[in-house]
């Protein structure tokens, strides 16, 4: 426990900044900034401390499989000799950062396979449900499912990445009442049972989105990964008010009506991102609770990081694996399962916040779902700030309409040439023309989505699909609609300008620039994330 007093984990809270408040640590890519916020009108939202993990995770998993929620039989009753079983699981984008071994997916998949072995099931395929994300490397797959499963299934091709562009491997199962095509993996569609193994890191994950998105392709995704849907999701982290989820739920119904039988297993983890001991533990502590050792450690770490070349810093941060603990596991019928899962995510992450603010500040860390073992390029900076972090609210956005968003990130003009080839062209070609999501969608999406070279790289290399950078941009469409200005502190000036944002050298400069928009003496809110939190704004 990070409070060092062996008490129950403390909930998240809102700190009103006064003259005695210490400077606040801002994540800043592969580094940190210490920022002093103006007293009297600033507040900082702190996440809750990590909840205790389940004492017996394997026992809890077995219990969940035997006691399903909703209208579902226990998993062992659904398994029979001679059946076709497909186990799909979340890809490298979850959890963040990757967790220490054993990964939850390994624990769950081994429990499922154990029951399948008991039932005499021979025809089993395991699919990384990555939709149009990049393929997972063999090492990444091995980390996710563990050595035992990998060695048993990968060598003969029964453990593989989903291929959304395989003409023979995909099938359209129908259309929703809204005219949305439901495209799905043929193997999964033809299976007697699909078992989906999920890790619910944030409230957006899971539910019908796991299968309707994870095992789909561009033909299906375009119906909800678009500007209209994202602008009308308030927010996409709040399923009750998310057009993204409404579309996925409609698709889930089509899947069910088409006879696809899905047994959903969802898990939640605590927010023990940086550990309770070790070099990163201080990032989980509140600044005034840092010991002398923490302070010395922070100074040494910061000095070291300032001296290191960016590639070395990236490598050091990429090697960090979070000691996440399983806080819940539930299985059975998708909607019943997901309701409990979401409640468990909220239990860890929700922090009550009263009222909106004029300026919202956020320090963006080194990682987002799409740069694991990769580079956080400017488009992903936009997606993390305006997409993920901005949308981590329930009720109302933290910042008022017409307010200012201040991000802290180096925003390097750098791209991973293998993982993000279409991002390079998107940045150079599309953003040079316009940053308006609707115009981008109208003018450029189809061309990138159907580009044969991008499709080839997606299928055969480790590249994100050609259309993926568009989705990243759409992810921030709601925030772009909502705020009047976005300022990036400490970013690469040409890259920030290309994104359509304003660069600032220091937070003080950024606040002054924001004053032009929101007036003098604005209220400021800083969301201290990660460890992950979600603001419940009233």
């Amino acid at each position: 426990m990070s409070n060092g007093r062996h008490l129950a984990p403390r909930p998240g809270f809102v700190l009103d900044v006064d003259r005695n408040s210490p400077p606040i640590v801002f994540h800043h890519g592969e580094g940190f900034r210490l920022e002093k916020l103006p007293p009297g009108r600033s507040r900082v939202i702190y996440p809750a401390e990590p909840l205790e993990g389940l004492a017996d995770p394997d026992g809890a998993i077995r219990h969940a499989l035997d006691n399903p929620l909703g209208e579902s039989e226990p998993l062992r009753a659904l398994l029979f000799s001679g059946m076709k079983l497909t186990i799909a699981f979340d890809d490298i984008s979850l959890p963040l950062p990757p967790m220490r071994r054993p990964d939850i997916r390994q624990r769950v998949i081994e429990a499922v396979l154990d029951l399948a072995a008991e039932a005499g099931v021979d025809d089993v395929h395991l699919i990384a449900a990555l939709a149009i994300h990049r393929r997972m490397t063999p090492d990444e797959l091995r980390h996710a499912v563990g050595d035992r499963v990998y060695d048993a299934f990968a060598p003969d091709g029964r453990l593989y990445n989903h291929d959304a562009e395989d003409p023979d491997g995909m099938v359209v199962l129908g259309e929703t009442p809204h005219g949305e095509d439901v495209q799905f993996s043929r193997r999964a569609a033809e299976s007697d049972l699909v078992v989906y193994v999920n890790i619910n890191l944030v409230a957006m994950d899971g539910g019908h989105k796991s299968t309707a998105t994870g095992l789909s392709g561009y033909k299906g995704l375009r119906h909800h990964h678009n500007v209209h849907t994202m602008s009308n999701s308030r927010s996409f982290m709040d399923q009750e008010n998310s057009a993204l989820h409404a579309s996925n739920w409609r698709m889930g119904k089509v899947l069910k009506d088409a006879g696809v039988k899905i047994f959903q297993i969802e898990t939640t983890v605590n927010n023990d991102t940086f550990g309770r001991t070790g070099p990163m533990a201080l990032l989980q502590k509140r600044e005034w609770e840092w010991s002398t050792r923490d302070r010395m450690q922070f100074l040494a770490m910061k000095a070291g990081l300032d001296l290191m070349p960016s590639a070395a810093k990236r490598k050091a941060f990429s090697s960090w694996q979070a000691p996440y603990a399983l806080t819940s596991v539930q299985a059975g019928e998708i909607e019943a399962v997901h309701e409990v899962t979401t409640a468990n995510v909220y239990k860890q992450q929700l922090v009550a916040v009263e009222g909106q603010t004029d300026i919202l500040t956020m320090g963006l860390p080194y990682i987002c779902p799409y740069n694991v073992n990769s580079i956080m390029n400017p488009i992903l900076v936009m997606c993390l700030g305006l997409g993920y972090f901005f949308n981590l609210y329930r009720g109302r956005p933290l910042v008022r309409e017409g307010g200012v968003l201040i991000l802290s990130h180096p925003t390097p003009w750098e791209f991973h040439p293998v993982h993000h080839p279409s991002y390079i062209d998107f940045f150079e070609q599309v953003l040079a023309d316009t940053t308006d999501p609707a115009e981008i969608e109208r003018k450029y999406e189809k061309q990138f989505a159907e580009d044969e070279w991008y499709i080839h790289l997606y299928r055969n290399s480790y590249a994100y699909h050609g259309v993926h950078p568009f989705y990243m941009w759409y992810w921030g469409a709601h925030a772009l609609d909502h705020v009047a200005r976005v300022i990036v502190v400490g970013g690469n000036t040409p890259a920030v300008r290309r994104l359509g944002f304003q660069p600032a050298s220091t937070l003080a400069d950024a606040l002054e620039m924001a004053g032009d928009v929101v007036g003098p003496q604005p209220t400021i809110t800083h969301i201290k994330n990660p460890p992950l939190l979600m603001a419940d704004v009233t």
Partner: protein, 309 residues
């Protein structure tokens, strides 16, 4: 060279003929053997070997001597240590037993926090037959005497007390090294202790140490080894030691299958009750050895490797 061999042979022959008093006399048949000297075998005191200075010496031996030696001689691959993540507190590690290399291999393979708070159940009649042998075993591997030739409460009481104090136990339920390369039926000791102490038993399968130093051989021969840790087992309610021991043996057999094939095939066979047994087929001795070597027979050849034509 030939002269030297001849001289050694002559000396041995001379000693053999000389016998007593050069050698101790064997106990005649029909005569009650004298009681063993006190403080030997199961009575050997080992508490000193669990005090701090001895533990430091042992930790140094394990980390600086055994570990590099095992790395050179056994090239170990360790699997399944992640299965131990959910355990907190003392456990009983129960492994199959082929060779004297098994103990140092496991002492350097069992992960922390168990590795340095571990006692090894060692045959009282073999390791603790002399004071020097007992001292070396207690100091170097943390051995405690376990009676295997007669029923006695002393070993069980000592082990229960140590587990209660937070020590983990490494035990070889077969009761001795394999005489022919195949396993032997598991005895009930580990299962009995697990039931009495309420601690989990971690089945462990060791593959390859028989090739390094099988019973009867004096010098080790380097070979690759694989150590596979299984899921911890707890006795079910009302389960008696014999049945639990059988379950333990089946778990180790399944791990052996996992090492030979893969986890999925092993689980399928385990559930179907068709895992290959540890003890091998009930056939003639030569056929057992023949069956044991299987596809590896060619590896035993030294020198020439004929190409496959």
């Amino acid at each position: 060279m030939g002269a030297l061999i001849l001289r050694v042979a002559k000396t041995r022959a001379l000693l053999g003929r000389t016998g007593f008093p050069w050698r101790s006399a064997a106990v005649p048949n029909g005569v009650e053997p004298p009681p063993p000297p006190a403080r030997l075998r199961a009575d050997y005191p080992t508490d000193w070997a669990r005090r701090y200075p001895a533990r430091v010496v042992r930790a140094a031996l394990v980390e600086t001597v055994m570990k590099p030696v095992m790395w050179v001689v056994a090239s170990p691959t360790r699997r399944g240590t992640d299965r131990l993540n959910c355990i907190d507190g003392p456990v009983i590690f129960a492994a199959n037993h082929h060779s004297h290399a098994d103990t140092p291999l496991l002492l350097t393979s069992i992960p922390d926090p168990w590795r340095h708070r571990l006692v090894v159940g060692a045959a009282a009649d073999y390791f603790f037959a002399t004071r020097i042998g007992g001292a070396v075993a207690a100091l170097a591997i943390g051995a405690i005497p376990i009676e295997r030739t007669r029923v006695g409460r002393k070993s069980a009481d000592l082990t229960r007390q140590l587990i209660g104090d937070g020590w983990s136990l490494l035990i070889f339920p077969e009761g001795g090294r394999s005489p022919d390369g195949w396993g032997q039926p598991f005895r009930g000791g580990a299962a009995y202790l697990a039931i009495r102490c309420g601690v989990p038993v971690v089945p462990v399968h060791i593959d390859g140490t028989g090739r390094i130093l099988r019973k009867g051989r004096l010098l080790p021969r380097p070979s690759r080894t694989t150590i596979t840790f299984g899921d911890p087992l707890l006795p079910t309610e009302g389960e008696h030691a014999r049945r639990f021991a059988a379950r333990l043996e089946a778990a180790v057999a399944s791990l052996a299958d996992e090492t030979a094939t893969d986890w999925w095939n092993a689980r399928q066979r385990a559930h179907a009750g068709t895992s290959p047994g540890l003890t091998g087929p009930d056939i003639g001795a030569w056929r057992r050895i023949w069956a044991l070597d299987g596809g590896n027979r060619r590896d035993r050849r030294r020198g020439h490797n004929w190409p496959d034509l």
